[in-house]
């Protein structure tokens, strides 16, 4: 609230106020610029006040659809990131051994020459010898396209080690996903269940949403082994045992089924629950849908007493029963299989409670609460709408229960199925895309799964040739896997093989290991962008560091060439051979495209840009521009004109405005040109040379609000589907039917069972047959099944601190004051048992390694769980921090304990430590034991590494920071205390 904005001090006798001469209205400076925050991937709109060429203040942009004016702790500390003393300042060429940090500064021309020569040779011989992997990159529409033009299948972004389980489970079930692809209907939901989230990518929208929820008094349940942050404000904290959420959800499903609390109308209309599944054990199409000649799945219409195509809207499809198909075989509605599975007593609350570490009564109660809110507190919006089949609906019916989930689910090797279970539960309750439920953000929902398949089949990868599509995509059947004729992997990370068939984001956590091992083959160049792979984004960090420096018999590095683009002196920099220094986020163009990850909301489509609001004072270049330049030098298609000249001489902004992915579809949807009739929607049309100016005029974003009648039921909403079709998000305007039962998974299962043309080799068969279940299953996380659980009784987790972004917050003078040392948090009870007190040092040992850390006791944690803040531990010397910084001396990384490979199974084979379906890195499957350190052990974390050398010309970090001194209103430098004033060094 604003209070009467004018002070009346003058009229009030207040001698002190008079004496102080407060300047109530200091100017914030000469300019206000609007761009997009990049202190994290949430992409909030910011207003940057510039004073005398320096950043005075960064405020949330209140008009921006993402953050509506608020800013998080990181966003508010952007000034310190922008002026970080750890910024790189010029291209670097390694001169000392890898890891030594010995570099020589070189000019950009030389850097580009070096890169071009090497990459040219690769492209001309075997493009797959380039592996291009990006970390926190937000321009995957560009980086992915570039690598496909280069012709290498070896491209991925961080999704594989991040949350592909959520993306894949969602995109293979509801055409949208948790993660940043959807959100609860914050304004209407009455019961919100959050699984395994500490922060998520939607940092500010989630917080804004939770604020709304609390204000309205909706019930908020947080399922999380740890009670901090969001969980702290939940009405109910469900302190589950890690890795068991799937069972818990299935018990909820069990309860709902038993009581008949299922939204039948919803599942009949919007899911494949009524589709008939062939029951012919042993046949090659057992478990597949029965289809008509057009390929349309069949349902049994009770009204017609006949098999009917699922698209026929006049039917009354059965949800149970056994029906005879034309060929005489039987089939049952998939819902019957669903019901049979989850009604089984193994999913009864009493049966799962102990494994989950919960009380059976609580599970029963939560099921009852969900049913109550969904069905007794149904909401109706007076909004008329038309469904995909043209039927007018008077109202929008809402079931105001909503769910959201993130890495607490995804970072387990059973995460894909657990996430699918949550989606099935949502379908039971009829709460996807309905008022008060979980809503999907444009340009999703998409067809299930999205229609792009992975490319990079053997005949796709040829010297001097680009790929026919993007490297990453969504397989729908075994034939889509990327395998060489000998069955070996096409991709260096073994994505889309029988080991991880639906690895639709790749497996970034395996790249270094595989490249080092030369398995499936050796590569020449590893190009990394914005990923701290020698530290917090790798499993088994100590060994990864060795792999990066390991040499073969000839004295050559096993990974021969590493090109890296970072903006700061991270732990990864010393391990690269060529550094292409990036700008800070305030110094460059960026494009937050609808073709990439959405910043839209469920009721609007939106995209945004970043543009340079400060000119770099160093010799650095935005990496996307560098990529395009590299592409032009290499003559990559799409990056050169016919005459060989660069197609985007204006660099990245030129590309953003003028590149077209398909005719009329560019990176930005806003302010495209209209054709003569003007009958395009505004987001499709020829490139507009003034597009970026329009964005600048509109505070660097574009936002298209859907009509109210298009904002719900988007998977079956005629108006919405027409819009999405026009934009190219969906291929047909027919309904997107949710996959409660996944026929795609069944097709892989059948292959595992020995059917079809494409079958897994013997050693992977059982695994495929087991984990490709068409219905959600729960199994113990893989690592646990291969670990002595008596020896390693504890789960070990990490959480994101809200005020830090992975590794890169620690160079921030303000943020690192908040957390510069992480502790190992353990249950107070466990502490008592082991005689461990606050501040004691302990050893934490996993089957893979051990680390030393300092303890903090707490109550709000599952008794079998220990945890710490992620990525606070730093390597001495990195980030231009003092080598004795607490981050290095006392902070620690849990990653040393996590192996990228699972323990050997019977035949000695070691799978990657990933979800068997998606290849998602299973960070949270870790099991450990703890023991108190001896009194005589040094009080510092372990392992410690040699401090890395500073690269040339890196500034000295100041001992005293007086940022803002020069902005002090009216009292310039008056207070500087000359005697003590050594000046900022």
């Amino acid at each position: 609230m604003t209070v009467d904005p004018k002070p009346a001090t003058a009229d009030i006798h207040d001698p002190h106020a008079k004496a102080d001469k407060v300047d109530f209205s200091p100017s914030l400076g000469d300019e206000v610029k609007y761009t997009t925050c990049y202190m994290c991937a949430c992409r909030c709109g910011i207003r940057v006040y510039m004073k005398d060429g320096k950043v005075r203040y960064i405020q949330g942009n209140k008009n921006h659809p993402i953050n509506k004016g608020v800013l998080c702790a990181k966003g508010s500390s952007g000034i310190m990131q922008h002026y970080s003393p750890a910024r790189l300042s010029k291209p670097l060429k390694r001169v000392g051994p890898r890891g030594s940090g010995e570099f020589e500064e070189i000019e950009w021309d030389e850097a580009m020459d070096i890169a071009t020569k090497r990459l040219k040779k690769i492209r001309e011989t075997d493009p797959s010898k380039l592996a291009f992997f990006t970390g926190r990159d937000q321009s995957q529409a560009t980086t992915g396209w570039w690598s496909s033009m280069f012709g290498t299948p070896n491209y991925a972004a961080h999704g594989g080690f991040c949350s592909v389980n959520m993306a894949a489970a969602g995109l293979y079930s509801i055409g949208g996903a948790f993660w940043e692809f959807g959100e609860p209907d914050w304004g209407l939901t009455k019961y919100f269940m959050m699984f395994g989230m500490a922060e998520d990518h939607d940092s500010n929208p989630i917080k804004i949403g939770l604020g709304k929820l609390k204000k309205r008094g909706a019930k908020f349940v947080s399922v999380n082994p740890i009670r901090t942050g969001y969980s702290a404000i939940a009405d109910e904290w469900v302190g589950i045992r890690p890795g068991t959420d799937g069972l818990f959800v299935m018990a909820l499903m069990h309860e709902l089924l038993k009581a008949g609390k299922i939204d039948q109308q919803y599942i009949v209309r919007y899911t494949n629950a009524p589709w008939l599944v062939i029951q012919d054990e042993g046949a090659s199409d057992h478990g597949m849908f029965a289809r008509d000649d057009e390929g349309d799945p069949l349902v049994w219409s009770t009204k017609d007493e006949a098999l009917k195509p699922s698209t026929d809207i006049t039917t009354t499809p059965a949800l149970k029963g056994e029906y005879t198909l034309a060929d005489g075989r039987t089939a049952v509605p998939s819902f019957q299989l669903v019901a049979e599975r989850y009604l089984d007593e193994q999913y009864a609350p009493d049966a799962v409670a102990e494994t989950c570490g919960l009380k059976a009564d609580d599970i029963r109660r939560i099921a009852a609460e969900l049913a109550h809110v969904a069905f007794e507190e149904e909401i109706e919006l007076d909004i008329k709408w038309v469904d995909w089949a043209g039927r007018r609906q008077d109202k929008m019916i809402g079931r105001p229960v909503s769910f959201h989930a993130m890495r607490g689910i995804s970072a387990h090797s059973n995460g894909f199925h657990t996430c699918r279970a949550i989606h099935v539960l949502q379908m039971f309750l009829g709460s996807v895309e309905v008022p008060g439920g979980f809503r999907i953000k444009a340009p999703f929902p998409k067809p299930i799964p999205p229609t792009n398949k992975p490319t990079g089949k053997v005949d796709h990868v040829k010297p001097g040739t680009h790929l026919p599509g993007m490297a990453l995509g969504f397989p729908t059947e075994p034939a889509d896997l990327l395998l060489k004729d000998d069955g070996s992997a096409v991709r260096i990370d073994k994505a889309y093989t029988w080991e991880h068939p639906l690895a639709s984001h790749g497996l970034m956590h395996m790249v270094i290991h595989n490249a080092w091992k030369g398995d499936p083959y050796k590569i020449d160049t590893l190009m990394l962008f914005m990923a701290n792979m020698s530290w917090n984004s790798s499993m088994n960090t100590s060994k990864v560091i060795e792999m990066l420096t390991d040499k073969d018999e000839d004295g050559e590095y096993k990974i021969p060439n590493i090109i890296y683009s970072d903006a700061y002196y991270s732990e990864m920099v010393p391990y690269a051979d060529l550094i292409l220094p990036d700008t800070t986020y305030l110094e460059r163009f960026d494009c937050i495209s609808l073709l990439d990850r959405p910043i839209s909301s469920p009721h609007s489509a939106a995209d945004a840009i970043r543009y340079p609001i400060v000119e770099p004072d160093r010799d650095v270049r935005g990496f996307q521009g560098v990529l395009l330049d590299l592409g032009a030098r290499l003559g990559l298609p799409g990056m050169v004109n016919d005459d060989g000249s660069a197609k985007y001489p204006g660099g990245y902004p030129d590309y953003i405005a003028n590149h077209e992915r398909q005719p009329g579809v560019g990176l930005l949807a806003g302010w495209r040109l209209q054709d003569e009739d003007g009958d395009h929607m505004d987001c499709r049309g020829p490139a507009n040379p003034n597009q970026l100016e329009k964005y600048l005029e509109n505070e660097s974003f574009w936002h298209h609000e859907f009509l109210p009648e298009h904002t719900y039921y988007k998977m079956a909403n005629k108006g919405y589907l027409e819009w999405a079709h026009e934009l190219g998000c969906v291929v047909t305007k027919t309904q997107i039917v949710f996959h409660m039962y996944s026929e795609i998974l069944q097709s892989f299962k059948l292959a595992g069972e020995g059917h079809g043309e494409h079958q897994p080799p013997e050693e992977h068969r059982e695994r495929i047959a087991t984990y490709f279940d068409p219905l959600p299953i729960w199994y113990q996380p893989l690592e646990e099944t291969l670990t002595d659980l008596d020896e390693y009784p504890l789960h070990a987790l990490t959480q994101r601190p809200m005020h830090m972004y992975h590794s890169w917050g620690s160079q921030n003078a303000w943020l690192r004051q908040i957390t510069n040392q992480n502790r190992m948090y353990i249950a107070r009870k466990l502490g008592r048992e082991k005689d461990i007190k606050d501040d004691d040092w302990i050893w934490i040992t996993s089957p893979h390694g051990r680390i030393k850390a300092q303890v903090k006791l707490m109550d709000g944690v599952n008794a079998n769980t220990v945890w710490t803040w992620n990525a606070i531990g730093k390597r001495a010397g990195a980030w231009n921090l003092d080598k004795d910084a607490p981050e290095a001396k006392k902070g620690f990384l849990l990653n040393h304990l996590i192996s990228e490979l699972l323990p050997a199974r019977g035949d000695g084979y070691r799978y990657s430590n990933s979800d068997p379906v998606t290849g998602q890195a299973a960070w949270f499957d870790l099991r450990v034991k703890i023991e108190k350190c001896n009194a005589d052990e040094v009080e510092e974390s372990w392992p410690q590494f040699e401090p890395t050398a500073k690269p040339p010309h890196m500034v000295d970090a100041p001992d005293i920071l007086r940022y803002g001194e020069e902005f002090k209103p009216g009292k310039k430098a008056k207070n500087a205390k000359d005697a003590k004033n050594g000046g900022s060094k």
């Binding site: 009346a8 002190h16 998080c72 702790a73 609460e369 109550h372 908040i818 607490p886 007086r962 902005f967």
Partner: protein, 246 residues
């Protein structure tokens, strides 16, 4: 003399909602960002990249675990800044007149031109709201963003403390406690807002809304505590209605 005003025209201050604060530190860093270039500039940092970083902050966020005895324990995030007390002993102890409380609006400020850095005001403040700038040798503190709330160069809706505007969950509220109809007065009335350490008699202006009782029982939301199963004799799927329209 640095006596306190008998009463102040307005009593401006904050209400902080402990029921919704997620402990994100946004208010703390945004405060730092605003104020390091504002009236009390700079908010100096010592050893910012070194072994013992330490700086001037006007707002600091703690977290606690509390066993309330009314159910499971709770985790509480707790931001702490100046309460702009009515009985601000930080002002009366000040020997120089550098510390004062504005008669206009009750805001407690330090005139850093006068401050001798005796630190006594920080001893007198129970809430730890006084921040010594070692580099400058003077005391600094939360100004309630005096250079925002009256700032005519800002849009009206921006004339609020930085911490309030930035809080992503909306756990911070700003207003005049002298006005019974202000949002802050209403919130305090509705949610039994509390002053901190009332025993010490500072009569702080800021109020904290205690966490609401956690609703873990089904009856809190009018639900049953368990669902009644469909009679198994009829078959568990007997509820499936066979005439659902497509």
């Amino acid at each position: 003399m640095t006596s306190l005003p008998q009463s102040t025209n307005k009593r401006l201050g904050l209400v902080i909602d402990l029921d919704t604060c997620v402990g994100c530190h946004a208010c703390a860093t945004n405060c730092k960002e605003w104020n390091t270039g504002g009236h009390m500039a700079p908010l100096t940092d010592q050893n910012p990249y070194g072994k013992d970083p330490d700086g001037v902050w006007f707002n600091r966020v703690h977290s606690f675990e509390v066993d309330r005895g009314d159910g499971p324990g709770v985790t509480i995030n707790f931001p702490r800044s100046c309460m702009h007390c009515d009985n601000a002993a930080c002002v009366t102890v000040c020997p120089t007149g550098a510390s004062y409380k504005r008669a206009e609006d009750g805001i407690v400020l330090v005139n850093t031109d006068k401050c001798i850095g005796c630190k006594l005001c920080s001893w007198a403040c129970p809430y730890g709201a006084r921040e010594f700038d070692e580099d400058e040798g003077v005391m600094k503190k939360c100004t309630l963003c005096i250079d925002r709330i009256y700032n005519e160069t800002l849009d009206i809706e921006d004339r609020q403390p930085a911490c309030v505007l930035t809080c992503p969950v909306g756990a911070r509220h700003y207003g005049d406690f002298n006005d019974p109809n202000s949002n802050v007065s209403k919130l305090v009335a509705e949610r039994a807002g509390r002053p901190l350490m009332p025993e010490l008699g500072y009569n702080p202006t800021n109020r904290y809304l205690p966490p609401r009782a956690r609703r873990v029982d089904a009856e809190n939301i009018g639900a049953q505590s368990r669902l009644d199963p469909v009679s198994p004799r009829k078959g568990f799927l007997s509820w499936v209605d066979n005439a659902l329209s497509r």
